[in-house]
Symmetry: C2
Subunit: 203 residues, 2 copies
């Protein structure tokens, strides 16, 4: 019946298949916690031994330093003890597969497109089990990356690969194909009262 | 002028004092990511070398295993290399300061009250720089912990201690004294389509 919650969907999948279905997860909205929650999910994936790839689409000197350092420490734990999974962290302008040019908007656009091309290659090769595409909504919204290509790539990705996309104003075409979308909404924020960003909280 | 954003508040604090003001942070709402974002913030605190205390108020066999394992691995990194900060993880029914009784609702209530009493001692002693009070809204909403005591304790806590509270339906008295409140709202959730919780995503 329409509107009724179907507890066991008629999708031809077993409970186990549904349980293990790879997910597209979106964290959007104007509030805090979109990326932070994505990195929190990476902790769970690490503990499962998953190969994790973080792709940071908005270049910043300091915003992700804390998460990057902590996840790189967990990657070291994996490399030295075998505990957890391997983690790679790539950011625009500094990774091996990313443009190092930082001058103009055209350079940023090229770097974003190059980053997305690399992610497509990795999805095709099933390199990671969890992809964090941090602040990926922005280059899409700026027209630097084709949203239809993103939708087709995610929809057709092989195997069992989870993808988390963070950023404000996620394109409705991506929301449409996502399995889980959470909106983070600001209720009270210290910046409203003149509070400045601070070490350990904002980065 | 009322309603106007005041960029520099008339609170007698210097920019540096405001920048370093200890925060009460609340992650509430019915969506995912409340606790996950709190543990993501813990990564930033760890990287700053902060002593971190996680206090898990809803007992669960598996929900926090991933985060707990990863944060304990980071605690080991600190203990063996000095990198990052120390992390303690306490959960209801298993930590040294928590009741091990698990039978009745009265036992759970006593364990929650005992946990809060321990947190109060630590706040008074300034044991940690960051406290994650995970799912703390529930024992408050169930009347097991007095919200006025929580408000008074947080308001009067000494030194420079950040406190993150997670859970649905946060009491308005806590929202009132919080510096940063984010509401996580579900837009699309795989459980809506019969998707079951899965390893690495839900725990």
């Amino acid at each position: 019946m329409k509107g009724q919650v179907t507890e066991t969907p008629d999708d031809g999948l077993t409970t186990r298949q549904r349980r293990n279905r790879p997910l597209v997860i979106v964290h959007t909205g104007d509030g805090k916690g979109k990326s932070t929650a994505a990195f929190g999910l990476a902790l769970r994936g690490w503990n499962q031994g998953w190969p994790i790839g973080v792709f940071q689409f908005v270049k910043s000197a300091k915003w992700r330093i804390g998460e990057q350092s902590a996840l790189e420490a967990l990657a070291d734990v994996h490399d030295t003890t075998g505990k957890g999974g391997p983690i790679e962290w790539h950011k625009m302008g500094s990774g091996w597969s990313w443009s190092r040019k930082t001058g103009s908007e055209e350079d940023h656009q090229a770097a974003a497109a190059e980053g997305w091309a690399e992610i497509k290659r990795r999805l095709a090769q099933q390199t990671h089990t969890l992809y964090v595409l941090d602040e990926f909504t922005y280059p899409i919204n700026w027209g630097w990356i084709d949203v239809d290509d993103v939708v087709a790539t995610l929809t057709e990705r092989p195997g069992h690969q989870h993808v988390i996309i963070t950023g404000r104003r996620c394109d409705p075409k991506i929301i449409e194909i996502a399995d889980l979308v959470t909106e983070m909404t600001k209720i009270v924020h210290p910046f409203d009262h003149g509070q400045k960003g601070q070490r350990g909280i904002e980065w």
